[in-house]
Symmetry: C2
Subunit: 407 residues, 2 copies
């Protein structure tokens, strides 16, 4: 176990961990621009353990269905991605197309289709242009510095690619790396465009711990910017572990379990924050930390409800200390709450204590709120649990953008 919180390497990639290769190419699913990619491949040169967290939306893309099946079968070591078209809402053709994509990808990579997962993202209801994908698959060349191209290949309305990595030293002295990339955009929550994240590690990790570590981590990070019940047709987070670091296999309670979980958390927390920063039309983000909750679940509910409130998001945009909207959102979140015990702070300025507003210097608070990042803290005074969610401002640009997405 390491003492300090792991340092995130902002220019890390999914190919930062040993023996992962990746690449991307442009085949014409999106309007052309220099450096644009719309198909990508990621592969571990060694067999992998894989874990996934998937959308709970019942209107699910066949891409997610196939990926979940393959991950459950235990052989996944690579990923095919495409962006521009979601492969959702196209009837039975969707399953046929994604199976053909995986066959094409497997042929190109020299693996079996069952060794691949897939992420597709973009417009719903349009079939994948298979002719373009058939012609373009072989143009994807993979290399051990191809993680940047892969991260570009999952972008839709994202303004920047989002990748990072983190390392830690195992008890046996081996250095382990975890890399990852993500795409989000849309409003993220409450009904985001697809959120995808692909994570790789050269750690040796047993299957059960890999799965539980990913789930716990997603609940604290990706699911705090995107709520399970509100996910899109295509959301997923995949984690591949190939053991190339040569460490003693990490499992529940093993010496390096905590360090692995902490490193994964640091990476996913960083990527989640990058997701929010890059949300459509937003140039300003805010954190909502809820402390003193009666349970972890309550803390998460309250933090997410506040971060997702359109009225709160509008107030953040306008530098408006309308704290009533914040406590109102906590009130309808479903979290246990006693009005007389709630305190609220904007950055470190107390706005409400024990249910009673504190007179504050309005201009100072407006000045604080004008910064690029605003920290809201709500203390419920009922227990010891806490959680943090991230939100972005709601802007006029968001509306303009989303009223003309397909037209």
């Amino acid at each position: 176990m390491t003492g300090d919180a792991p340092q995130v390497i902002p220019d890390g990639l999914v190919t930062s961990p040993r023996r992962f290769i990746a690449g991307g190419s442009y085949v014409g699913l999106k309007t052309y621009a220099p450096n644009k990619m719309d198909v990508g491949l990621l592969l571990s040169e060694l067999p992998c353990r894989a874990a996934g967290v998937y959308t709970t939306n019942k209107f699910v893309s066949p891409t997610v269905t196939v990926t979940r099946e393959n991950v459950a079968a235990g052989k996944v070591r690579g990923v095919f991605v495409t962006s521009g078209i979601a492969n959702a809402g196209v009837g039975e053709q969707g399953m046929k197309d994604i199976k053909e994509c995986l066959q094409l990808a497997a042929d190109h990579l020299g693996v079996e289709p069952g060794e691949l997962g897939s992420g597709t993202t973009g417009v719903i209801g349009v079939e994948l242009p298979m002719a373009l994908i058939r012609g373009g698959m072989s143009t994807i060349s993979l290399s051990d510095d191809g993680g940047g191209a892969f991260a570009r290949a999952i972008m839709t309305t994202d303004r920047v690619p989002k990748s990072a990595a983190v390392t830690f030293t195992c008890s046996g002295g081996e250095t382990v790396t975890i890399g990852g990339c993500t795409k989000g955009s849309g409003m993220i929550h409450p009904n985001m465009a697809t959120m995808l994240a692909f994570l790789t590690t050269d750690a040796a990790v047993d299957a059960a711990f890999l799965d539980s570590a990913l789930r716990n981590c997603a609940d604290d990070t990706f699911n705090m910017v995107t709520v399970d019940g509100d996910t899109s047709t295509n959301d997923m987070v995949l984690l591949l572990a190939n053991g190339a670091a040569g460490n003693a296999e990490i499992g529940e309670g093993s010496p390096d379990a905590e360090a692995f979980a902490a490193a994964l958390h640091a990476l996913c927390s960083h990527l989640s924050r990058e997701l929010v920063k890059d949300a459509e039309g937003s140039s300003k983000i805010f954190s909502v930390r809820v402390t003193g909750a009666a349970s972890k679940q309550d803390a998460r509910l309250a933090a997410r409800a506040i971060a997702a409130s359109s009225l709160v998001k509008s107030a953040i945009h306008g530098n408006d200390p309308n704290w009533g909207r914040v406590v109102c959102a906590a009130g309808y979140s479903g979290a246990d709450l006693d009005v007389g015990k709630v305190s609220f702070f904007i950055n470190d300025v107390a706005i409400m204590e024990a249910g009673t507003p504190i007179p504050f210097h309005r201009e100072s608070v407006i000045a604080i709120m004008s910064r690029d990042e605003v920290a809201l803290t709500v203390t419920l005074g009922l227990g010891e649990h806490e959680a943090t969610a991230w939100g972005c401002e709601l802007t006029e640009e968001y509306v303009v953008f989303n009223s003309a997405y397909t037209t």
Copy 2:
């Protein structure tokens, strides 16, 4: 029982039923403008049965707490309202102030404070300016055509007052009238500004039936534009029945029970629609009818999720037939859903049948969507239940408005 659906009288008022009087006045809680009101009183000259539906927000205004207690005690026959300040989030002072308001109102009306309910709406966290209310209460004069002034006294960012009435003939030949007024604005859902509705009737109705009729009706009307779990600190719907029509008391299974429920439904449906039409920044509304659901609850869940989706609301604003957003919202609503059975129509144009998109003439659909009212229909193909929700477009104006509500 009447055969036809009851006709709504658009210029009806809370004072349309016999023996109800009301009035409003301006005391200075809001910025002055001609014809502006910020306090109001409503009273039945006879004793009443009363029923209420209240916010489920745990951060509840003491105004709601007191009203609920008084209604439960069975003596409520009048209402004091004020707008501009919510009387929420002000600590213990909030309870003291609303109790004093009710005492002042009771003194002015010659009744007991326990005979009054109250609705307060506006900014959270600011104390009621009691000096203004003390001085202004006696300036409210009540009359049997004062329902219009009362409806103005509950407006906040509403652009127009919203009142209506409906009548039906009882089996004994008596004409019964139900009147009502409402205010909403804000985004309504997902986290609206306060929604208030006050309903009056001269029907004789027993207490249990009055309560169940109001609850059933609210679930189908007000709660389809504003979801229970997402209500504000101050929301409420109150229904007062004074029996002045002289009809045989209406109860569960009695001859006029169905006609009463139908009339109440027609009125509340009309008022709900007016609420949505008057939402902040919106000039266009849309209905979401979900049919073929496995249960009533599923139909409501799916309809509300679609109507509340920011992406759907933005698409409506942009006349953008991005139907993927609609089925995606149905998918995360929690309603039972089988992708292969879902059909979707914009007005009467089939966009998707049994999970497969139908090629449609894009320009025609954009033309249909450019109308002031758009009808979305989703057929789940799983059962016989249906529900309709109402939504409004999400506009740039909404964001501008809500980023500067207190600044």
